[in-house]
Amino acid sequence: EDQVTQSPEALRLQEGESSSLNCSYTVSGLRGLFWYRQDPGKGPEFLFTLYSAGEEKEKERLKATLTKKESFLHITAPKPEDSATYLCAVQGVGAGSYQLTFGKGTKLSVIP
C-alpha cells in the first residue's frame, strides 16, 4: 500500500524567511510524485510533477526536488500570498492502479 507523510503539519514563516516542506513516501514503484497547493474552500491547484530521483522543477519562489524516499518543496523568500496548504501525492505502479495517494498536507502561513 502506497503511503505519504508530510511534515511539518503547520509552518509559520515571516515574509522573506525561506524554508522547506517535506514529503516522505513509500511506494512499490513510482510513476510520479505531484505537488499541489490548496486554498481554503477551493480544489487543489497543480504545481509540479516529478518522475525520477534527482529531478528538480521550479516555479517562481517554489522549487521541488525528489529522491528515492522523499521530496522537498523549497520556498524562497515567501510572500503572504504563498499562504496555503501544500499537498503531496504519489502515483505507484502496484496492481495496475492509477490512483493518487495524498498526504495530509502542510499548512503554510506567511506573516507580513
Binding site: R31, G32, G43, P44, T49, S97, Y98, Q99, T101, K104
Partner: protein, 113 residues
C-alpha cells in the same frame, strides 16, 4: 470549459435521501478521479475511470456509493441513503493520460442533516 466543473457547489440533504454529484472534466482528458476530503483529513480516493476500461472502484467506502461516466466524459457520483458521516467535500479531477498531472474542480460540499 477551461477547467474541471463540478455541480452543485453546495448540497444540503436530509439523512436517508439520495444525492447525485456531477463532474464535467477537461475536454480530451481520458482519466477521471473522484476524491473525498473530510474536515482536517487528507484526500481519500474513491474511484478512477480511464477511457473505456473498467473503473477502479477500490476506494468506494460502501455499496451506497456508485459512479458512472457516460461517453467517456461527464461523470456522476451517487450516494444512496445518505448518512451524516458522508458529509465532506467531494472533489473531481481529470488528467490527459494515466500518469500525467490531475486537475481538480472546486468540489461539492455535501452536508447531511
Amino acid at each position: 470549459g477551461a477547467g474541471v466543473s463540478q455541480s452543485p457547489s453546495n448540497k444540503v440533504t436530509e439523512k436517508g435521501k439520495d444525492v447525485e454529484l456531477r463532474c464535467d472534466p477537461i475536454s480530451g482528458h481520458t482519466a477521471l478521479y473522484w476524491y473525498r476530503q473530510s474536515l482536517g483529513q487528507g484526500l481519500e480516493f474513491l474511484i478512477y475511470f480511464q477511457g473505456n476500461s473498467a473503473p477502479d472502484k477500490s476506494g468506494l467506502p460502501s455499496d451506497r456509493f456508485s459512479a458512472e461516466r457516460t461517453g467517456g466524459s461527464v461523470s456522476t457520483l451517487t450516494i444512496q441513503r445518505t448518512q451524516q458521516e458522508d458529509s465532506a467535500v467531494y472533489l473531481c479531477a481529470s488528467s490527459l493520460t494515466t500518469n500525467t498531472e490531475a486537475f481538480f474542480g472546486q468540489g461539492t460540499r455535501l452536508t447531511v442533516v
